[in-house]
Symmetry: C3
């Protein structure tokens, strides 16, 4: 399995491409993570719009460069509105990311709504191990939005599911794994305090969408998003507590320069 | 009246207990305070989930270790959804906290919905003086979410109401008071700039719920939450402005160590 | 055209007036910007309440000192709820600000709902160039919430529209312009990174409302809000990345002292 990091030219190239395109990224997400998700996108030069205000989900999903749907947007949006965003993106050939937050945590109606979204062929799916195992029909054991499984435990499952849905699947953990079923990449590094910043996982879904905008290689684009995230988190590692860590993480994300010399 | 502070062994014990349990805390709250509330819980090691996405309020309220309901969640949730969360918690023996934000500020339908929640026997109620006086049927004089009364003025009222509803009631102010009607504790310290950080009061409701998870003594658990909050705020006191204060407050909250030597 | 800055006595006077009044400001806004908008208002001493929880929009709009309506609140509120807030403010003689976020970006139903709000005579309108040109019926070319036009390009349009609607219109850009159609003021300075902080524009709408509370001169009050914003952004200019910039911007806003000596 290949390990990808900020020092790989392909990651730099992907970030350079993103900064040049400045993609308009449209997202449906939950209101806990919406602010951070937008700031993460702005930090790397993307232009976010979030939410379903009247007909936004029809108008914006098809005109964006990329779309992300965080399933917990169902706390603000109806299943029909969410489906419109997925259908709009799919119909217009816009790449879209599904983040099945808290699937398998015991909310049956919610889980069903997420499964219906799979019909609209997400370009990529990202989540934690419990969520991705549950999405595949297994016993994920999610406790609310938290995982109780390690990323390694989800790896065989997501490799199988990626083939089945012809999509890229990424599982977050101390080591992240990103697979299209044929090839699997890993991303190391990061900082455990990312799990103490609410919405950090959700924002990685948004960032993955931004990297998918205009991508020639979805597997590498999603992996690059994870590598950039891990690098920014690592550079914020000197922060004193969880509040400063979140601020310095955004700082570092905004300062990452594709042209800096490799370490 | 006993004064409780971070230096009291019982406060340290309560935080130690919380950090060991890592309670799953489910909340319905307003979208202004949701992000900070989640980060406050994550800072002390609790695991938050927020919002009513389809059937979350049924599935999560009964499986959480603790629940908090911030009445301003009614900007996103129907009264029926909110009641489901309260009923779910109550039915499963899960402690739950009611935060009657802005009750008595002139919104009659809103106030009525809050009063109905009292039927489901909150384990604790927290608010500012205007809110708690209004909740008891008095003239609270709230201006939106701001109090116009001092905490001392609410003290006799909350002592009476705590007996009536067999609950713990906490009123926030320069000095906080926490009572079950029989005994009253006070918590001093903190920093006035907490009132300039939106959602800081709301997040204290969330933290109170986390301390109530698995608690043997609700009065002391809620008071411990207030003492921990006041200590973190005090330690953040060197911050330059309100933005840094919020960040350093979260930092200090995440760094509070139950095993550090008492001052 | 007169240029206004923090060093002008009238700007200091306006901030002094605001800090004395501590206006209760009621807003409907989107959940991405709600937290920052509230913190911006708290930083200058105003008291915000945000959202339509049951009958809040009826009760609070007529009792507030000022109201702001950010059209993207339509992601949480129905057009009828939003209209109630506008009608409540207008009927009670409470000044209100309209922020037509993302109008002209392609969402037809959404745009129509915004146009209906003009019937309720906003005291001021603020937006970026694309939005204000689109609101006037022109080709704004907005990409989601981002402008594709410069503020100068919108200037003749907003001067005309300000006369037509007898309102104050402010367009944000590297240089801001504020006009009532008869007179136009410009505000320079600021920091480009404000555009990388989500909700910074939306929060300026909230701050403009706060300055309009009890104002004797809406044109100068809205311009003063822009001058104060630009000054705080400039003072935060030493920040390292976009995360720190947002924090230091709030710090500087909270520290601005109307009585400090002019530069």
């Amino acid at each position: 399995m290949k390990t990808l990091s900020w020092n790989d030219p392909i990651v730099r190239d992907e970030l350079r491409r993103l900064k040049r395109l400045k993609p308009f990224c449209y997202g449906l997400t939950n209101y806990i993570a919406a602010n951070l998700s937008a700031n993460v996108l702005l930090a790397v030069g993307a232009g976010p719009a979030i939410g379903a205000a009247l007909d936004w989900q029809r108008a914006f999903s098809s005109h964006a460069h990329a779309v992300w749907i965080n399933a917990a947007c169902l706390m603000s949006n109806s299943p029909a509105e969410v489906a419109e965003a997925a259908i709009g993106a799919r119909g217009a050939g816009v790449p879209w990311v599904l983040d099945p937050v808290a699937v398998g945590a015991g909310a049956v109606e919610y889980d069903t709504a997420i499964r219906h979204l799979l019909d609209h062929k997400p370009t990529a799916i990202r989540g934690n191990a419990s969520e991705l195992v549950a999405l595949a029909g297994g016993e994920g054991g999610a406790q609310g939005v938290e995982t109780t499984l390690g990323a390694e435990q989800a790896l065989p499952v997501i490799q199988q599911e990626a083939l089945k849905y012809q999509t890229v699947i990424a599982v977050s953990g101390p080591i992240d794994y990103i697979t299209d079923g044929h090839n699997t990449l890993s991303v190391e590094g990061g900082d455990a305090r990312l799990t103490q910043v609410t919405g950090a996982g959700c924002s990685l879904g948004a960032l993955s969408a931004a990297f998918l905008a205009g991508s020639a290689n979805p597997l590498y684009s999603v992996a690059a998003a994870h590598a950039v995230y891990a690098e920014a988190a690592q550079r914020a590692g000197g922060a004193k507590g969880t509040g400063s860590f979140a601020v310095q993480f955004l700082d570092q994300l905004s300062l990452l320069d594709p042209d800096e010399p490799s370490a």
